[in-house]
Amino acid sequence: MPAVQETVARVRSIDVDQYKYGFVTEIESDRADKGLSEDTVRFISAKKGEPEWMLEWRLDAYRRWRTMAEPKWARVDYPAIPYEELYYYSAPKGSSGPKTLADVDPELLRTYAKLGIPLQEQEILAGVEQRRVAVDAVFDSVSVATTFKEELGRAGVIFCPISEALRDHPELVRKYLGTVVPATDNFFATLNAAVFSDGSFVYVPKGVRCPMELSTYFRINERNTGQFERTLIIADEGSYVSYLEGCTAPMRDENQLHAAVVELVALDDAEIKYSTVQNWYPGDAEGKGGIYNFVTKRGDCRGRNAKISWTQVETGSAITWKYPSCILRGDNSRGEFYSIAISNGRQQVDSGTKMIHLGKNTSSKIISKGISAGRSQNTYRGLVSAHRKATNARNFTNCDSLLIGDKCGAHTVPYLEAKTSTAVFEHEATTSKISDDQMFYCQQRGLSSEEAVALIVNGFVKDVLQQLPMEFAVEAQKLISISLEGSVG
């Protein structure tokens, strides 16, 4: 898997003092006028050459959004977002749609190479077995390149920018878009429905095991630009797909808004494994700048025996507001949520999951590891509910928090709602610090205090790291060490 290996090497080699992906790409871009109106929505829809029904869908969302208020229940604190001062569409000039790799602006290729994501379809070296990953690269508001499309096509897998899917597979998009996260779902999801500009679309047909990992790398570049991507993944009966998502943004003094929506649909016997390494710019140590990450991710186990598994490593963003959830509708379906959320500096994380048990014999598992350092606040918020008909629903939840330093906060807010006596829910949570004795033991064996913290923290999060594809796990492990730089005195 060259892309990720390269990324790992990059992460290893960089000077770990500060955010590594903070550079800005100088590239001309095409932007919508500042602010948000029906015209903005029409502009975006027109840029994408969308069908009329899609424009109407967006406009409905926009009108609905105008009547909504920002949710205030999360433990995050930030100044009012100037929605009228933002740009809702920005695309590198000349990239009205993705094309062959040969046509991609070399400056963009350099950007992704610098991020450790070379957009090339490297050949498999003779005798060396390597896993490969197909990459969809999203730069500000548009997808700039998607690799391995042809090979995937031979397996019947559709992997393309969602704007392209709207043109080439409108029936599929129309059938599933907004069926997991309705356009009216919540303030940020509704905003996304109105103005989303790109994102990835995946369809894995019946009985197909996707031949490689699929991944999307999101990059926010432009100043004052919101990024609103929308991802839709459909795993048809008996299929399997593993999807990876990575994110970075330049260091800028002002905050930038990222309001994405991800919808997953797993039909009978299908399985989707969705992994995220979120490393948006977190702002500086004093809390200046950074991405506001307000994301709605939800998977629907629509069929029997369907399985959806979310794994997230959250190290970036000034504010993280995200609750990847599973609706366990099909009988015997299963949802999993594995999370590592690290906050340092002035970061604020409010993240968790919802496991909604609707079908019979459904099961879910939640493993959440929160690490707070610096002056950050880190909250796990989760809901597990079993409805009347969800007989034999099972949940196991384990939320552990680790505090590093006495200026940060760690919070756990779980909700358990059992409406059937056959449900069995078990929830446990702990909060502690790294013990002085453990630190001393490691130091006595020659580890510096930072090495000792990194080692102990990596042990703390191991259960979750194990869920990631191996190369991603290595990358995540490095990221964890980097994000905790300076957390011990």
């Binding site: 006495d406 358990l416 829910f425 929830h427 610090k433």
Partner: protein, 438 residues
């Protein structure tokens, strides 16, 4: 978006407003007291009763549970007094007994003169006289909490207990509250201060007939440094009653509280507990057991606030539910900045005995200090089939086997009571429920 829009007032809200208007001038407390009552009531008048959109009331919608406001209890008649005596629980428990009937002190049923030495017991109404009614100011509970505000607005009688510094009260004090007669609302307040190094055992009981009363009771407990209190509460209200209760505890340095409540009665109950560690190295064990059948509703909402360093808190709450009963547990451990070496653990377990029963739990940790060991657990589930099978294979019929396992389940809490007659009284109450499942 429309959370701020106040809908039209419910019958209960209108009733409360009318009741307050009618009695406010006659309530004790002087000018200052009237001001405190007005301020308290203003939060109710402006916000209305809390409903499910208010986070703390998400699972217990008071607006829905309290369809109308019962009239305030009138003076107690001799017939009611006689009826109340028959309803007094825990006759076998040795304690100094003070009885309130329909919220009014009943001297004829009470042993007001028998206070152990070093313990001062006085009617709250005395403290409400004069112009500085400190009895209306409650430290340690949020003043804008709806139950606290209602209590402050309406309370006219209650009890004050003060244990002098260094005194180990020689007898337990049992404050019995009985509701009887026509359906009414009543308010009660028990304020206890335990001096430095002093100790006391308190028993609080609530019982009554099935007329559908509304009770609002508030207990304030102040423990000075090195003080110790045991508090056992039996909530055995009539099955039509709405029982609203608040316990506010403040612990000084090295103080110790052991609090245990059995929720056996009422149609719907909300027990709020606000516990604050003000000094260092104090300890609190707070536990509760409850059972409910039919369509009953039991809510325990608890905030453990660690401000002092090196304090230890342990919470264990267990509820068994039958019929279409519902239990709610909301528990929050807060560790403030600087409250290092805090050791806090909380566990909530619900046992669902029937298909229609429902349990909601929200155990929370809110932690701002790093050198802490905190944890919470919550479980919801039915009786273990394997255990049941094992017992049945030994010849126990289903019902008895189930009863035995439920008894063991809530027994873990009740067993923590050291005083044997008291423990037996609560065990007997649990056994009765297992027969009746009401």
């Amino acid at each position: 978006m429309n959370a701020d829009v106040r809908p039209i007032r419910t019958a209960a809200e209108t009733g409360l407003i009318e009741a307050f208007e009618a009695v406010r001038a006659a309530l004790p407390g002087g000018e200052r007291g009237a001001q405190l009552r007005d301020d308290a009531f203003a939060t109710i008048a402006s916000r209305g009763l809390p409903n499910r959109r208010v986070e703390e009331w998400k699972y217990t919608d008071l607006r829905a549970l309290m369809r109308e406001a019962r009239p305030l209890a009138g003076p107690v008649t001799p017939a009611e007094l006689a009826a109340a005596e028959a309803l007094l629980p825990m006759a076998d428990v040795e304690a100094l007994r003070i009885v309130f009937v329909n919220g009014r002190l009943a001297p004829s049923l009470s042993q007001l003169a028998g206070a152990p030495s070093g313990v001062a017991i006085s009617p709250l109404s005395d403290a409400l006289e004069g112009d500085a009614p400190h009895a209306l100011v409650l430290e340690g509970a949020p003043a804008d909490n709806a139950l606290v505000a209602l209590n402050t607005a309406f309370v006219a009688d209650g009890l004050m207990i003060a244990v002098d510094e260094g005194v180990a009260a020689s007898r337990a004090i049992h404050v019995a509250n009985v509701q009887t007669g026509a359906a009414h609302s009543s308010y009660g307040r028990l304020l206890v201060s335990v001096g430095k190094g002093a100790s006391v055992t308190l028993i609080e009981s609530h019982s009554g007939d099935a007329a559908g009363h509304q009770t609002n009771t508030l207990v304030g407990l102040d423990l000075a440094d090195d003080a110790k209190a045991n508090l056992v509460k039996l909530q055995d209200e009539g099955l039509g009653t709405l029982h609203l209760a608040t316990l506010a505890v403040r612990l000084g340095r090295k103080a110790e509280l052991n609090s245990l409540a059995l929720s056996a009665g009422s149609l719907a109950a909300r027990q709020q507990i606000f516990l604050a560690f003000k000094g260092d190295k104090a300890t609190a064990n707070v536990s509760g057991a409850g059972f409910a059948g039919a369509r009953r509703h039991l809510d325990t909402t608890l905030v453990i606030d660690h401000e002092g360093q090196g304090c230890v808190s342990r919470e264990l709450f267990k509820t068994a539910l039958d019929g279409q009963a519902r239990s709610v547990f909301q528990g929050k451990i807060v560790v403030r900045p600087g409250a290092q070496k805090t050791d806090g653990k909380m566990m909530a377990k619900a046992l669902l005995l029937s298909e229609g029963a429902e349990a909601d739990a929200k155990p929370e940790l809110e932690i701002f200090a790093d050198d802490v060991v905190c944890g919470h657990g919550a479980t919801v589930g039915a009786i273990d089939d394997e255990l049941l099978f094992y017992l049945k294979s030994r010849g126990l019929p289903q019902v008895e086997a189930e009863a035995l396992l439920v008894q063991a389940f809530v027994g873990e809490v009740i067993e923590m009571i050291e005083d044997e007659p008291l423990r037996d009284a609560l065990t007997a109450r649990a056994e009765r429920w297992l027969r009746e499942r009401d």
